[in-house]
C-alpha cells in the first residue's frame, strides 16, 4: 500500500493522514450508515408494522334473537381475516341480553370466547350458569366475572352497538391481558 507510487509522486502529509483519505473514510462511514438506515427502516416497518383499518362491525342478529338473560353463543367469520384464512378466522362470542337500562337503552353483554387466562375457548353451561375453560379449569359466572381457577380477571368484553334493530359488535382481535377488546372504553 505504502510503496511509493512513481507516477503520482504523492507525498504523505507530515504527522497525519492525507486529508483526502480521512475524508474518504468519513464519507464511507456516513454512506454506510445511510445505506443501513435506508435498508433497515422499511424492513422494520415490514416486520413490526401494524395495518390500520377502520373499525369493522359484525352483525350478531336481530334484537329479538336474544331473549332476556339468556346467553347465546354466536359464531361468525371475523372480518379481520386474510382472504386465505379458511375456517381459522371463525370466531365465537357469548351474547347475553340484559334488558333495558333506566334510559331505555338495550343492554347487552358480549363476552369473548377466549379465556382470560391463556386464551383457550370457554364453553357456556346454561344448566349451572357457568363458563368453563377446558385448559386449566378457569370458571366464570354468567356475567363474565371470574368464579374460580387461574384466570387473573373476568372474560374479555367485546364492544357492541345496536344499529337498525340489530346487534353488532366490533370485530375482535385476539384479546390478551394487556390488550383487551375494550381498551378505549376502559381508559
Amino acid at each position: 500500500m505504502n510503496a511509493p507510487l512513481p507516477s503520482s509522486g504523492k507525498q504523505l502529509c507530515p504527522g497525519g493522514k492525507p486529508p483526502r483519505r480521512a475524508f474518504f473514510r468519513l464519507l464511507t462511514g456516513a454512506l454506510g450508515a445511510a445505506a443501513t438506515g435506508l435498508l433497515t427502516l422499511p424492513m422494520l416497518g415490514y416486520f413490526f408494522g401494524r395495518r390500520h383499518r377502520p373499525a369493522m362491525w359484525v352483525p350478531m342478529g336481530d334484537l329479538s334473537d336474544f331473549p332476556l338473560n339468556e346467553t347465546r353463543t354466536i359464531n361468525f367469520d371475523n372480518p379481520l381475516r386474510q382472504p386465505w384464512d379458511g375456517m381459522t378466522s371463525m370466531t365465537g362470542v357469548h351474547v347475553r341480553y340484559q334488558g333495558k337500562n333506566d334510559a331505555g337503552d338495550e343492554q347487552f353483554l358480549v363476552l369473548a370466547a377466549n379465556c382470560a387466562h391463556l386464551g383457550c375457548p370457554v364453553s357456556w353451561f346454561p344448566q349451572s350458569g357457568l363458563f368453563m375453560c377446558p385448559c386449566h379449569g378457569g370458571v366464570y359466572y354468567e356475567n363474565g366475572e371470574r368464579a374460580s381457577g387461574p384466570p387473573p380477571r373476568g372474560l374479555f368484553h367485546c364492544v357492541w352497538r345496536v344499529k337498525e334493530g340489530k346487534l353488532e359488535i366490533e370485530a375482535p382481535h385476539y384479546p390478551t391481558l394487556h390488550d383487551t377488546l375494550t381498551e378505549s372504553l376502559e381508559s
Partner: protein
C-alpha cells in the same frame, strides 16, 4: 474414464484444497482411550446430528407437498397422510426423528455434564451446545404449529397469551408473533418462516461453530478420578495425550456410525409402526371440546405452570425459561476446573438425578393433566348405578342435580369424571351437612379452585344435592359429624336458610 475422473478430482482438489483441509480434520487424533469401551459414551452427539440430517431430508420432502396457507394446510396434511405415496411415512419419520434428536441432545448434554467435558477449554463448546438445544426446542414448538389442526390453533393461542403477559411490550409481541390481529394465515406463514428458514439457519450456524470448536479443542479424554483439570497445565497434558492418540477416522468413527445406524433403525421402525401424528380436528376455533396439549418436550412446563399458584404464574411463563437457559449457559463458568469423574462429583450426579426426576414427575402430571376439567363428564359419564341404588327420591333428585350442574366435570365418582376437585365417592363420610352447604355455596374461599355455587342453584336444588352427597359413603358408615344433626335417610328435612 476412471483416469479422467481421477484427473478431474485432482484438478479440483488442487484448487479448492479440499483434501488439504478435510483430511487432517478426519485424521485428527483423539485420546487413545476413546478407542476402548469408554468410546461408547461419545456417540450421542453424532447421533443427534444424524437425526438432524434426517430432519433436513424429510423436511425438504414435506415442504414439496405441504401448503403453508391457513385454508389449505390441513388439507395438504391429509393429502400427505392418505394420498401421497409414502407421505404418511415422511410425516411420521419427521416427527419421530425430531423427537429422537431431542432425546439424543439431552443424553449428549447429560453425558458431557456428568463427565465434566464442558470444563476448560471447552466452555464455549458447551455454551453453543445450549444454543443448539434452544434451537431444537424452537423447532419442536414451531413444527407443532405447522401441523395446522385444532391443537395447533389453540397451542398458538396459549403461546400468544403467554407472550401477551410481557409488561408494556406484550401487545406488540403478540401482534408480531401472530402477524396480525387474529390467529390465522399470517400466523401460520410466520411460523413456517421460523420453522423452515430462521431457526434452521441459526441451528446450522451454531452447529458449524460447535463442530469447529470440537475440532479445535479436541475431544475430551474419558475422565479418570483424580485427574484434575487445571487451565494452566491442561493444554500441555492434553497434547501429550494426543501424541499417543488414535485417528478419529477409525474405530471412534466406527462406533459413531454403528450407534447412529442403530438409532435410525429404531426410529424408522417406530415411525412405520406408530404412523404419523395427527392432524387431529380441523383448525376451526368454534369447534367445541378443544383441549390443547403441548408436545412432549414441553409437557413438564405445562405441568409446572398448572401446578403453580396463579400469583407466580407470569413469572414461570416469562422469567423461568430465561433463568433455565441462563443457568445452562452458566454451567461451565461455575466450575471450569477440578475433577471430571462423576465418582468425584457427587453434587453433579445428584443434580442430574434431581433434575430428571423433577422433569419426569412434571411430565407425568402434564400427561395426566388432572387440572383440566372433563368438559362432557356431566352428560357423558352417568352416576354409577350402585351410588343411586336404594336411594330416596330426594337423593335421586340430588344425583340428577349433581350431574346437571356440571359438578361432574371436576369431581369424579368412583374415579370417573373430572379430577380437578376431589373424588366425591365417599364424601358423606368426611363432610357434614353444614360443611357441604358452605363448600358448595361459597366454593373455595378467595376464588381458588371451586366456583361458588350459591347463586347457581336454588335452595331446593342445594337441598337435594347435599342429601345425595351425604348418602355417598361406604356401606354401614354413618354420615360425618354429629349423628343427631344429620338428616335421617328417607326424611325430607325442612329447607333451611341456605345461601349467604
Amino acid at each position: 474414464m476412471y483416469q479422467l475422473l481421477r484427473k478431474l478430482a485432482h484438478w479440483i482438489d488442487a484448487r479448492a484444497g479440499v483434501s488439504a483441509t478435510l483430511w487432517p480434520m478426519m485424521r485428527h487424533p483423539v485420546p487413545r482411550s476413546i478407542d476402548g469401551p469408554m468410546g461408547w459414551w461419545y456417540v450421542f452427539g453424532s447421533a443427534s446430528m444424524t437425526f438432524l440430517l434426517i430432519q433436513i431430508l424429510t423436511g425438504i420432502g414435506l415442504s414439496m407437498v405441504y401448503v403453508p396457507a391457513a385454508d389449505q394446510a390441513y388439507e395438504s396434511l391429509l393429502y400427505l397422510d392418505y394420498q401421497q405415496p409414502w407421505g404418511w411415512f415422511l410425516r411420521s419419520l419427521h416427527y419421530y426423528a425430531g423427537s429422537g434428536m431431542v432425546v439424543m441432545l439431552l443424553v449428549h448434554m447429560t453425558q458431557v455434564f456428568l463427565q465434566g467435558s464442558y470444563k476448560y477449554p471447552r466452555e464455549l463448546t458447551w455454551v453453543v451446545g445450549v444454543l443448539l438445544l434452544a434451537c431444537t426446542m424452537g423447532m419442536f414448538f414451531t413444527g407443532q404449529i405447522l401441523r395446522w389442526d385444532t391443537d395447533a390453533y389453540w397451542g398458538l393461542a396459549v403461546g400468544a397469551s403467554m407472550a401477551g403477559r410481557v409488561p408494556v411490550l406484550g401487545p406488540e409481541i403478540v401482534h408480531t408473533l401472530l402477524g396480525g390481529d387474529i390467529i390465522g394465515a399470517s400466523s401460520l406463514s410466520r411460523f413456517f418462516a421460523l420453522h423452515v428458514f430462521i431457526i434452521p439457519g441459526a441451528l446450522l450456524t451454531f452447529l458449524g461453530i460447535h463442530l469447529w470448536l470440537v475440532l479445535r479443542c479436541g475431544i475430551s479424554a474419558p475422565p479418570k478420578p483424580g485427574e484434575i483439570v487445571d487451565p494452566k497445565t491442561y493444554d500441555a497434558t492434553y497434547h501429550e495425550e494426543l501424541k499417543r492418540g488414535v485417528p478419529f477416522f477409525g474405530d471412534a468413527l466406527l462406533k459413531d456410525i454403528f450407534f447412529s445406524a442403530l438409532a435410525v433403525t429404531i426410529v424408522v421402525v417406530i415411525a412405520a409402526v406408530v404412523g404419523p401424528k395427527g392432524p387431529t380436528e380441523p383448525p376451526d376455533p368454534t369447534l367445541a371440546g378443544a383441549n390443547p396439549r403441548p408436545e412432549w418436550p414441553f409437557l413438564w412446563l405445562f405441568g409446572l405452570l398448572s401446578l403453580s399458584p396463579p400469583a407466580i404464574e407470569t413469572f414461570i411463563m416469562l422469567v423461568f425459561p430465561v433463568l433455565v437457559l441462563g443457568a445452562l449457559f452458566f454451567v461451565p463458568f461455575v466450575s471450569n476446573r477440578g475433577e471430571r469423574a462423576p465418582s468425584r462429583r457427587p453434587a453433579a450426579v445428584l443434580l442430574v438425578i434431581v433434575i430428571y426426576t423433577t422433569l419426569g414427575v412434571l411430565t407425568y402430571e402434564g400427561v395426566q393433566a388432572p387440572w383440566s376439567p372433563v368438559m362432557d363428564a356431566w352428560s357423558g359419564d352417568p352416576v354409577p348405578v350402585n351410588l343411586v341404588e336404594g336411594r330416596t327420591p330426594l337423593e335421586l333428585q340430588g344425583a340428577a342435580v349433581f350431574q346437571f350442574k356440571n359438578c361432574r366435570n371436576c369431581h369424579a365418582l368412583e374415579g370417573i369424571g373430572g379430577r380437578r376437585g376431589p373424588d366425591l365417592t365417599t364424601i358423606g363420610a368426611s363432610l357434614t351437612r353444614d360443611q357441604l352447604i358452605t363448600q358448595i355455596s361459597n366454593g373455595t374461599p378467595g376464588g381458588g379452585n371451586m366456583p361458588a355455587y350459591g347463586k347457581q342453584m336454588s335452595p331446593a336444588e342445594m337441598e337435594a344435592t347435599v342429601a345425595f352427597l351425604i348418602s355417598l359413603r361406604p356401606d354401614g358408615q354413618l354420615p360425618a359429624g354429629a349423628v343427631e344433626d344429620a338428616p335421617v335417610e328417607g326424611t325430607t328435612p325442612q329447607p333451611v336458610e341456605l345461601t349467604e
